[in-house]
Amino acid sequence: MQVETPHAKTLVLDVPDWPGHLPGQHVDVRLTAEDGYQSERSYSIASAPGTTDLELTVERIDDGEVSPWLTEEAQPGDQFELRGPVGGYFVWDASLEGPVLLVAGGSGLVPLMAILRHHENTGSGADLRLLLSARMLEDVLYRSELERYRDVVHLTLTREQPPPEWNGWSRRIDADMLRDVGPGADQHPHVYVCGPTPFVEEAARLLVELGHLPAAVHTERFGPSGG
């Protein structure tokens, strides 16, 4: 278990016979109570393919059912069922040609982090940029790791100023910001947008307005009931 932010932890899982995954995919987690009662939710995979452990980063939803157990109760050695990997569309593979633009809102960073890590691990030469929107610096997942990629990571904070060492803004995502981050639509990047529904709706709308082909804009949305 690794504490990422006041609301999120990364669980490092030892999964027997894990078949491997592509960056961007998720898993279904099923918890079983002593009396047989079960509950299932989906969580994005944070780790890159090819690593021995499977990592899930889980944000606690206060009135959720599964995330409070995963973030507050679970201890090393505990067991639960896991199914996957799931989802074959919101994925990036190092064999894909062309630049990559990742746009994350809050904990929507998780599947995009798997892409960033895979890009790094494979030594991909693809031009990759990440724009992360968060409320405050303390909400930013993987902060120290992201600092190592500061050349390609852009941070916008909606409730405070980002520290001066970051490429950053203090406002909601807009067209100028996406233009500054690049790569532009004329470079035909593969675009991946993940975050809460209003964020994804707005980011995808702006990207299409800027000339990106709708078919190149992959989206993954989650709402408060994702818990």
Partner: protein
């Protein structure tokens, strides 16, 4: 036997009628949004709906013609493959039966195609006899683009990805061809009561 997750009790939804909740689902009052790409915004004066394929001569309706057809208001439970279910959702739409009136389809399958390039496949038997609609109102209001407006397919007895958003036409086919999500790991049929979520189910 599944492993017990030590200390897990869950938040049991005692107010939920278990006979209405398919396996692995939980009830929500929200209406979460899930789509693979940007939300398309087709102006109504450019919108049309086309019935084609193995059905003889294609039929097409403008938006005005479409909403002028006799419609039905139906209240149904819906079940998303991402595990939420929402009870008693109210829709207005044109029954697919009505669109098929006067045709003699010879294909046993259909594909719904949509703005944004999304498709989904269904057996024809699952959209006739009062089982499916092309819906354009939700809870008495025009259907929000996020939720598939101006119109979406409504096939409430299957997982909700089969209720394709932004639907623009139905093509009947003699062969069953997987649609968009069905090509990316999701079940070809998608019966929530049999928990047919993924290819291996």
């Amino acid at each position: 036997m599944p492993p017990i997750s030590r200390g897990f009790r869950g938040r049991r939804q005692t107010e939920v009628d278990p006979s209405r909740l398919p396996p692995g689902q939980y009830a929500t009052n929200d209406f979460p949004v899930l789509s693979a790409g940007p939300t398309p915004h087709t102006p109504l004066d450019e919108w049309s709906f086309t019935l084609g394929g193995a059905v003889g001569e294609a039929k097409s309706w403008t938006w005005e013609e479409f909403v002028a057809m006799p419609s039905e208001v139906v209240t149904r439970d819906i079940h998303c493959v991402t595990k939420w279910s929402k009870f008693d959702t109210e829709w207005r739409g044109v029954p697919v039966d009505r669109l098929l009136e006067g045709t003699e389809p010879w294909g046993k399958y259909m594909v719904a195609w949509c703005d944004g390039g999304y498709t989904t496949n269904l057996p024809l038997a699952d959209v006739v006899d009062g089982k499916a609609w092309v819906a354009y109102e939700y809870a008495g209001e025009p259907l929000d683009p996020e939720h598939g407006g101006p119109a979406r397919l409504l096939v409430p007895h299957l997982y909700f990805w089969k209720s394709a958003k932004w639907v623009r036409g139905i093509n009947l086919a003699e062969q069953d061809e997987p649609g968009f999500w069905e090509s990316y790991g999701y079940h070809n049929y998608g019966d929530p009561w049999k928990e047919q979520r993924y290819w291996s189910d």
